[in-house]
């Protein structure tokens, strides 16, 4: 995990350092004198060899210093800490949406195989995977905000400030971001359940006298979740990527919006910090998924899954 984070940081650092544009000039503006530029470069350590710059950067991060924005000179950490809860709220609600859809649809699809509910479920999974989230977002805004006026079209209010309004504003973005994951999970859960439902221990469960509902929920679901978790884990990275689009469309001031603006305005320290944070989250969550495996399936010992 540490090794991966190290490589992640190296990649981010080198990427951002080859970004075209001179940080010193960005800070001082076009009219700056060459002397002032040179002085600032020296002060920022831009003349040092790259590996020194890297060590400097990592050392600062470990001390909680992510540098200052080149645009408004505010400390990056402060901005980041403001935006993180917003994105976490969005991802949490999207995840809830995904689970609320995927569990029932996946189970129904697998247990009513070849019937109408299976076809509907499969169709949902198929189209959900293919739906571009920006299009879905725009359609939802058009339908539910512009036409039906059920929800406000965009914006963000913190949960602590106005709970009802905050939730109302979160619903469309959460559906936008959650649909893709819901579709992936549905598809995976269906095929994994179909597999599990053919196993001998399911027959044993029926032979004991359990009814279908108890067999599916009590015996099949837990076994079927293992491969679903794998997909869920792999999808998380995409999930954060999706938040970039969703936040842009719905005007939600989270990490996604921050990183897009920072990339478009070449605000390097902010880009570095955001991307590092996202990668860090992915690594941490994958680690948590590994732990979840060993809880669900007693045959798996911690740390064996990711290596397979």
């Amino acid at each position: 995990m540490i090794v991966i984070l190290f490589i992640v940081s190296v990649i981010i650092f080198s990427l951002v350092n080859v970004l075209p544009g001179d940080p010193a000039r960005l800070m001082l503006g076009q009219e700056a004198t060459p002397e002032a530029l040179a002085a600032l470069r020296k002060e920022m350590g831009l003349n040092d060899p790259l590996y020194i710059q890297y060590l400097h950067w990592v050392g600062n991060i470990l001390h909680g210093d992510f540098g200052y924005s080149l645009r408004d000179h505010s400390p990056v950490l402060k901005t980041l800490l403001q935006k993180i809860p917003v994105t976490l709220e969005l991802t949490f609600f999207s995840f809830v949406v995904a689970i609320l859809i995927a569990l029932p649809v996946g189970i129904l699809s697998a247990t009513r195989r070849g019937r109408l509910s299976d076809y509907l479920g499969t169709f949902f999974a198929l189209s959900g995977i293919s739906l571009p989230s920006f299009w879905l977002g725009i359609l939802l805004i058009y339908l539910f905000a512009v036409k039906l006026k059920w929800f406000p079209p965009s914006g963000y209010v913190p949960l602590s400030e106005n709970f009802g309004k905050s939730i109302a504003l979160m619903i469309l973005p959460a559906i936008t971001l959650g649909t893709h994951l819901a579709a992936e999970l549905t598809r995976m859960l269906r095929s994994s359940l179909l597999d599990v439902l053919q196993s001998d221990y399911i027959r044993t469960a029926y032979a004991k006298g359990l009814l279908e509902r108890a067999v599916v929920i009590g015996h099949a679901l837990k076994n079927a979740l293992v491969p679903v978790l794998t997909v869920g884990g792999l999808q998380l990275a995409a999930f954060f990527g999706g938040s970039v689009i969703t936040e842009t469309i719905f005007g939600i001031p989270g990490i996604g919006q921050l990183v897009v603006n920072a990339i478009l305005t070449r605000d390097f320290p902010v880009v570095q910090a955001c991307v590092l944070f996202m990668a860090f989250m992915v690594v941490v969550i994958n680690f948590l998924v590994d732990i979840a495996y060993s809880i669900i399936d007693p045959r798996i010992k911690l740390g064996e899954v990711s290596k397979g």
């Binding site: 571009p132 299009w135 725009i138 058009y142 842009t248 991307v275």
Partner: protein, 300 residues
């Protein structure tokens, strides 16, 4: 997945002997055509490809021609999909946009294949320090980035534009192929025929290219097909955010982005390009599923 419990449902020995190559190809094609969704997806793709290739002849208008007499018109007999804020014909722009999207999808994946397959092949074949500690670690690290964010950053590094966007997307997809190919190679390497080939003194390159790669080809092709769908979405996303295709060249993603501002007055500007992205991606997905079932009915 087998329809019934193998033990009780098919109690009699399967009497199909292994068939020669031609027959198995025929059977595979038969399986593909049984998959009606896959066939439908393939047909729609074919239409898109024809639209893209013959765009100048098929598009009713010049996609860049602005017509201030026909701004923000709804769908009509004259303009099937309406016109945008500059009076350009949305249908014509979608037809030209198909060129961008298909090109982006295919070239990005080609780049990923061109880099990922050789690295995965060599890394998995020779194993050792480089494989375990350099290639795989870097791959893991790359996979921990949200792919869209990585593509965005790369696109920013290379500069906005379709070519750079394709390169960025290709690089983002590369680790997936390294992983897949490496996994396939590791599985094949254990097989007896590889050991026999090594024992017979055949060179490593020949074993890799003539023996291992052909056997790993099916899953690579399936993954490549499905990746084209992802790459099309990625390109559209980059264009949507302003880092892909640059105006005035029509692309589905940038059209959506432009149309977003007119969603209240003229929803068709955004709805139709999005619909085409959706349909294109969906047909590639079902087509890819069909190809997978065709190549190996056991894979799933």
């Amino acid at each position: 997945m087998s329809q019934t419990n193998a033990q009780t449902a098919a109690p009699y020995p399967n009497r199909l002997e292994s068939s020669p190559r031609l027959r198995s190809l025929k059977k595979a094609l038969g399986r593909f055509f049984q998959n009606k969704l896959g066939v439908a997806g393939g047909l729609f793709l074919l239409i898109l490809v024809i639209l893209a290739i013959f765009a100048p002849w098929l598009a009713p208008y010049n996609p860049m021609k602005q017509d201030y007499m026909a701004i923000l018109q709804g769908p009509s007999a004259k303009h099937w999909f309406g016109t945008d804020d500059l009076g350009r014909d949305v249908l014509s722009r979608i037809i030209y946009g198909a060129r961008v999207s298909l090109k982006a999808g295919i070239i990005s994946v080609a780049i990923a294949l061109a880099i990922g397959v050789p690295i995965g092949l060599i890394s998995g074949y020779f194993r050792g320090f480089w494989d375990e500690f350099i290639i795989m670690r870097i791959t893991d690290a790359m996979l921990s980035f949200p792919s869209l964010v990585l593509a965005l950053t790369l696109a920013a590094v290379f500069g906005a534009g379709l070519n750079n966007a394709m390169l960025a997307i290709g690089l983002v997809y590369t680790p997936h192929f390294i992983r897949l190919v490496r996994g396939q190679v590791l599985a094949q390497r254990e097989r007896e025929y590889v050991e026999a080939a090594i024992a017979a003194g055949i060179s490593h390159w020949r074993i890799m290219l003539r023996h291992i790669l052909p056997n790993a080809w099916a899953p690579i092709m399936v993954q490549a097909t499905l990746s084209v769908a992802g790459a099309i979405i990625s390109e559209a996303s980059l264009s949507f955010l302003g880092l892909g295709t640059q105006p005035p060249t029509p692309s589905w993603g940038s059209m959506l982005s432009e149309g977003q501002g007119y969603i209240t007055q003229a929803p068709w500007i955004a709805v139709f390009p999005g619909l085409f992205i959706f349909l294109a991606v969906m047909s590639i997905n079902v087509f890819g599923d069909g190809v997978r079932d065709m190549l190996d009915p056991k894979l799933k």
